[in-house]
Symmetry: C2
Subunit: 105 residues, 2 copies
């Protein structure tokens, strides 16, 4: 097995792992729809990428650090969209139910 093969695999896998979030960011941005997306998934994912980035820093590997910081940024963006849309929806339902404000008819 050539020495360079594992490094090549890890580099491609790292790039794909980071790039994989891009279509979800674009879709969530365009469609303003994050209903089916799990907030808990992205809370755990963001935490994991904080740890992976720290790991990259501790072992002095800037590729590990940079790929994971990019993934952290992208996954955190999706989490922000999710929280923002959930809040807007909650405010939307609340304004319908406030008796004082909503004048009948």
């Amino acid at each position: 097995m050539p020495d360079w093969l594992p490094t090549l695999l890890a580099t491609i896998a790292g790039i794909l792992s980071t790039l994989s979030f891009v279509p979800q960011v674009i879709k969530a941005w365009r469609e303003r729809d994050t209903k089916a997306i799990s907030k808990h998934m992205y809370m755990v994912t963001v935490t994991a990428f904080v740890l992976w980035s720290s790991y990259g820093y501790l072992i002095g590997s800037w590729p590990v650090m940079i790929f994971n910081l990019l993934s952290l940024g992208l996954s955190a963006t999706i989490l922000v969209f999710k929280i923002r849309n959930d809040r807007r929806k909650a405010q939307g339902t609340q304004s319908h139910r406030e008796p004082g404000l909503a004048r009948p008819g």
Copy 2:
């Protein structure tokens, strides 16, 4: 810096990365709603985990291999839900539009 710290960080990060998919699998299964989920994201994610699992095998690291095989299984499950729901929706809209079958009134 203690020697064990990077290994501890990577182990926790690895566990979190894999576990992060579980709430999304449960949500997609319970709610049967995958509309906001990006199919392209999970196609790339599944490809990346195939490469990461192969990488783990090549470097003889069973933790890397096992974590990534689990992540592969979980992310592929979400992709299958997404494709299945999209197909059902497409069939649903098609059966409304077929002139021959849909008797007026």
